[in-house]
């Protein structure tokens, strides 16, 4: 606890002034006290823990005093207007972005410490991007098999059976030998999910996984994600799909201007949000 307390004292890299915590929930105990009805898993240690995290892009302050704990098995949906810092917050979790102050612990690794090697942490975290980013020069099967073979050193035959099983799970076993360019957007995104799952990760991150899809393909991707949530996967999902949030989220975070403005269960959010900005956003989007 004392180390947490210490890390609260953070300094703005530009003005050198201490940043005073503005978060309404300064300690772990309070987090648990006012949160949603706890799932059984929530009694353990958080698997992702943001403490007073700040990030700047140059002079642009994109994450402001983020405090958040995510527990194993939780599905957390992040919503908020464009440019509010949702992607950045997500990308900090596997250090695709580095933070300038605060403490960020993921799966027991203090990844806010630049000396901590991020590669083994990334192996435990799958990520799905808005634009899929499948490897165009590799077949669907090769896309899924690469990391298990090269990172986990799993033999090719075993990697292949894992990949085939995952393709069945995402509903496109017949595309194993296809190249990404031969698939529809929805199929590509399902392959991307399979690629993320192939490492048997503890956490899956989704950054607007359906935003680049034609409407008729959104459902097939959301269905895969819902199934994953039901299996107990820890998921952090940035999305504008409010139906998804309502149905599978344990908690919803609303971000605006680099801060988490409001947090709560989907019922809280969609029935009686408190903050004015949340209400305005939900009016726009629903």
């Amino acid at each position: 606890m004392t180390s947490h307390q210490q890390s609260y004292i953070s300094v703005c890299p530009h003005c050198r002034q201490p940043i005073t915590p503005s978060d309404e929930r300064p300690s772990l105990e309070v987090v648990q006290a006012d949160s949603a009805p706890a799932k059984p898993q929530r009694n353990g240690e958080p698997i992702i823990s943001f403490r007073q995290v700040n990030k700047w892009f140059g002079k642009l302050h994109v994450l402001k005093d983020i405090n958040e704990d995510i527990y194993p098995g939780e599905v957390v949906v992040i919503i908020g207007p464009s440019g509010s810092g949702k992607s950045t917050m997500l990308r900090c979790i596997n250090r695709l972005e580095t933070i300038q102050s605060g403490r960020l612990v993921v799966d027991g690794y203090e990844i806010s410490n630049p000396k901590v090697n991020i590669t083994p942490v990334r192996a435990e975290i799958g990520m799905v991007f808005q634009h899929f980013h499948l490897y165009p020069h590799k077949t669907v099967l090769e896309n899924i098999m690469l990391a298990p073979m090269k990172v986990r050193k799993i033999p090719q035959t075993e990697a292949k059976s894992i990949a085939l099983e995952l393709l069945k799970k995402v509903g496109i076993p017949e595309k194993a030998e296809a190249y990404p360019a031969q698939l529809s957007g929805g199929q590509q995104q399902r392959v991307a999910i399979a690629r993320g799952l192939a490492m048997r990760p503890k956490i899956m991150l989704f950054d607007e996984p359906t935003s680049a899809l034609d409407p008729e393909m959104i459902k097939e991707v959301l269905d895969v994600m819902k199934a994953l949530a039901r299996e107990g996967m820890t998921m952090v999902v940035v999305t504008h799909e409010m139906g998804f949030a309502r149905e599978v989220a344990d908690r919803v975070l609303f971000m605006d201007g680099g801060s988490i403005i409001e947090r709560g269960t989907p019922e809280h959010f969609f029935v009686n949000p408190v903050e004015e900005r949340t209400k305005a956003f939900l009016r726009q989007i629903l």
Partner: protein, 234 residues
């Protein structure tokens, strides 16, 4: 005006031409291998996280791109040995140093152009590819090797092929430091026979067949490297 062509001299001096062709092929192929390896390494170094590494690579490229090749050849051949211990110097001179110096000159000069092509090729790959690969737990090196370079290859093959053709043509400069390659031999035939037109026509045709062969081979390599890579459906 009423020049009498005598193509028979080429047959008479075919041994010289063939010997020259052999040297040109050796010189070019060894240099092509070395300049490709150096160029890829330097191209990647130009994008390194470490600022010192980047600076070194940029300085290398700028230096060798912006000085005449013939000066570089003269430097490696005439100037460098003077900075070496005497025994090493004599050893080099008795071991075909003019050939070694031209390989060094051609390789280093061409590698700086290839480094530029490689840098541009890597930068042309969507940075999402790198992020996706890293996010699965691949190391930076694995990401470069399995994901970025195979895609960049397709982009860089045409400009690298151009550099290979330049290298083959530039290898004629090795005659200035007495490497008996094809241009050197053509000039020798001219001086023995005064049949300059015939001799240099032969050299020209030999260079053209070499460059066309390399172009053809590279187009096959490009086709192989592009397998599966149609534009990704947006």
């Amino acid at each position: 005006m009423n020049h009498q062509f005598n193509w028979a001299v080429l047959w008479e001096y075919r041994e010289l031409l063939l010997a020259g062709l052999k040297i040109t092929i050796q010189l070019s192929s060894i240099s092509i291998v070395i300049c490709t390896v150096l160029g890829i390494i330097l191209g990647i170094m130009r994008l390194a996280k470490n600022a010192l590494v980047r600076l070194f690579a940029s300085a290398y490229v700028e230096f060798f791109v912006n000085t005449p090749l013939i000066i570089q050849m003269f430097f490696w051949y005439f100037a460098l040995p003077m900075m070496l211990p005497e025994t090493l110097r004599f050893w080099l001179w008795s071991h075909n140093y003019e050939f070694i110096a031209s390989v060094i000159g051609l390789s280093i000069y061409t590698s700086s152009f290839i480094a530029e092509a490689v840098r541009a090729g890597i930068q042309a790959i969507d940075k999402g590819q790198r992020e996706a690969a890293l996010s699965t737990g691949l190391s930076g090196f694995q990401t470069m090797w399995y994901i970025i370079l195979p895609q960049a290859v397709r982009i860089v093959i045409p400009p690298i092929c151009n550099q290979y053709l330049n290298l083959i043509k530039n290898s004629s400069l090795a005659m200035t430091i007495a490497v008996p390659e094809i241009t050197f031999q053509a000039q020798a035939i001219e001086s023995y026979t005064f049949r300059g037109f015939e001799a240099f026509t032969a050299a020209t045709l030999i260079y053209i067949s070499l460059t066309l062969t390399v172009s053809f081979l590279m187009s096959r390599v490009e086709r192989w490297a592009s397998k599966g890579q149609r534009a990704v459906v947006a």
